[in-house]
Amino acid sequence: MRLKTLWLGAVVVLMAPAFTIITYGQEDTADQHQRSAVYNPYPPGILPPNLNSELVRVEAEIDFIEARALARWKALTPPTLTNQPPILANTGTEAIETLGELMNYDKNISPKKNAACSSCHMPYVAFGGPIPSVNLTMIAYPGTEHFRAGKRTPQRYTYSPFFPVLQYNQTQGAFFGGNFWDSRATGYKIRNPDAEQAQGPPVDTQEMGNPDTACIVYKLSKAKYRRLFEEVWGKDSLNIKFPPDTPRICATPAGAAVFGSDTTPVKLSPEDRTRSNNAYDHWGQSIDAYEQSQHVSPFTSKFDAWLHDPTKNPLTADEKAGYDLFRGKGNCNSCHLDGRSTAPTPPPPEGTAPNGEDTGAIANSEPLFTCFGSSNLGLPLNPRDAFFYQTKPDPYGFTPNPIGFAYRDLGLGEFLRSGYGTWASPNQSWRQYAPQEDGLMQVSSARNVAMVPSQCTGGTDAPGPYFQKEFFHNGYIKSLKQLVHFYNTRDVYPFDVTSGHCPAGTTEKVDCWPKPEVPATKDMTVGKLDLTDHEEDQIVAFMMTLTDGYTTPYPNSDTYAGTCMTGGSAKTQGNESLIPTPPLPACSPEVCGLPPLPLPPVP
């Protein structure tokens, strides 16, 4: 009897791992089925018809640039580690920048090996969004799992490394720094917001969607450029014992029901988990090095050339007029700092500024055209945003946005509360300021707002040939003309309607602006600038001088393999894509019910 029990026991013990293996095997099959399943909760017309072919185009462009980056690595003389403290002498800078570049174009980092960082950030648009039809429609870009998508436009990389660690300035009563539209990549720990930003998309459910930061490190350990990583960050920096189920886990998108709330499904020893965390910090730092480099943020615009030598590199009459308006009647440089002196023209009696000639010395020879802060411009809710529609579970049992149109984008305010759809805040003393920051989004550097592929000689605006971009955090604005017109006339043509419901006889974005998504904190510095139609055009002309690649070609600006668009008018560009905003439910308590509450309440 006992022997029988023993045999039975032995069989059970032996069967257990086999059963597990069988279970894994079944899940592998299910995974393969799910890999081909598409998540499409969108009503007809929300996704652009050419989405799949455009995603394929971008993937091919990435392969092309990756090959260039690999050649760059091949030509690199390995740096010599010397000095105390240790320094990678001579080619250390080139090494880390090359490493960051290789990471940026590596599609294998994503669970389905189809999304690199650059899938949503391509060099020919200053590392902003590369698909015109997405810019016209769904706003956010599909992640590894098609077609999950986020809620905001992909920001340009250029000059993002210069944002400081997020800080609250008591005297100014405002936040400065951080990366992302809502400043949630504070840089509090690795002391670099841009490096921390690079740690976001790889594990964002809507983007690359890795379920564990260790997955990125696992992919680095298998990467073609592993040796370069180890040259820069240390010989044993990727020596981690990954368990055998790592490939299967890392091929499953984050948020899948099978993971529950576990954010470390790759079970590493404590020492290996620390090593993996350190390597993930180095991932961010390497990408930051690339973004700060001459390959991304070179200060080679026409404006830079003019600052350096205005005689040799003159601005045209319209560009100069636009610049005078930018810092005068347009008042753009109150937030988009242009580095001019703080000495106003001597007044009789109260000053000829804002229209006066600024005769002060340059305070900053490489101005960044941002104050590094945030502002609520009073943009309307954009019902085209893909985020609103992802209310059903995907094939992995994950529902990206259960509250649908009850979502409101409170930007910095939501982050300060560690709220819905954002990160945890590392500083509880900031939470009290949330209501004054509701609806505030990062002040982008105006540099490269107009960068497009070189073959689209008309720039961003119709009639072109132009490259269709999307502007601001929710992509509501579709041309630079509309952008300036919004600042100029937001409060001249206000209507108490949502987008898509402008009254008969008016044209949305021309003489009808729908109401703001978050009205209470709307900044009133802008909204009525009294600019004429021609003056608006001149400001657009000036903004185009902020595009890199004037003094030396911008790297990889020649890699766009798509087409440019022609026809139409910049004033109404994209209006054919407007849809009526559905009746909006009140803001969900998950967004608007976190103390301290938005004051007054968000409609």
């Binding site: 300035n169 090095a289 008042n331 500024a353 340059i362 960044l368 009133m524």
Partner: protein, 158 residues
């Protein structure tokens, strides 16, 4: 009369990479000449606070920019108050000219290079066909008033 404390700025090369290297502990070291910047918050190009002026005087308005049945925008011009660039335009109002107990305030960014500032306040949640009395003020980010002497004026919503 100079409204701002003027300091002579000598332009010279400013290497942002050095600044960020120092802040971000980059591997390489480069030494270049640093520029003496005019602003106090030099390194990260925060928009600088300027010296507050002795007195803030309204030079235009206050006036109605627009009035609708349920909202209005009040605007006025004053000399640039200085202080924190983050400022607020404030309206104290009510239906009784002796009791301006309600407040509306809007975010305004000062421009240190401008000698005057346009202030605008958006006033929501008004009643139609109602006469409102109001006076205006501006304040710094910390809530300190700029001490604007404003007349009491009125408007009527349609």
């Amino acid at each position: 009369m100079h409204l701002f404390h003027l300091r002579e700025c000598k332009p010279s090369k400013f290497d942002w990479r050095l600044t960020m290297n120092v802040l971000h502990l980059n591997l390489t070291m480069r030494v270049m000449a640093m520029i003496l910047l005019c602003s106090t918050a030099a390194l990260t190009q925060l928009s600088p606070s300027t010296q507050k002026v002795a007195s803030v005087r309204i030079t235009g308005g206050p006036a109605i920019e627009r009035v609708d049945p349920n909202s209005a925008i009040i605007t006025w011009r004053s000399n640039n108050p200085g202080g924190s660039p983050q400022h607020y335009a404030v309206v104290y109002y009510g239906t009784n000219p002796g009791e301006l107990s309600q407040t509306a305030k809007s975010s305004i960014r000062l421009n240190p290079t401008h000698s005057y500032t346009v202030f605008r306040v958006w006033m929501p949640n008004l009643q139609p066909r109602t006469t409102y009395y109001y006076k205006v003020d501006s304040m710094e980010a910390n809530g300190n008033s700029d001490g604007v002497q404003s007349p009491v004026k009125q408007f009527t919503t349609p």
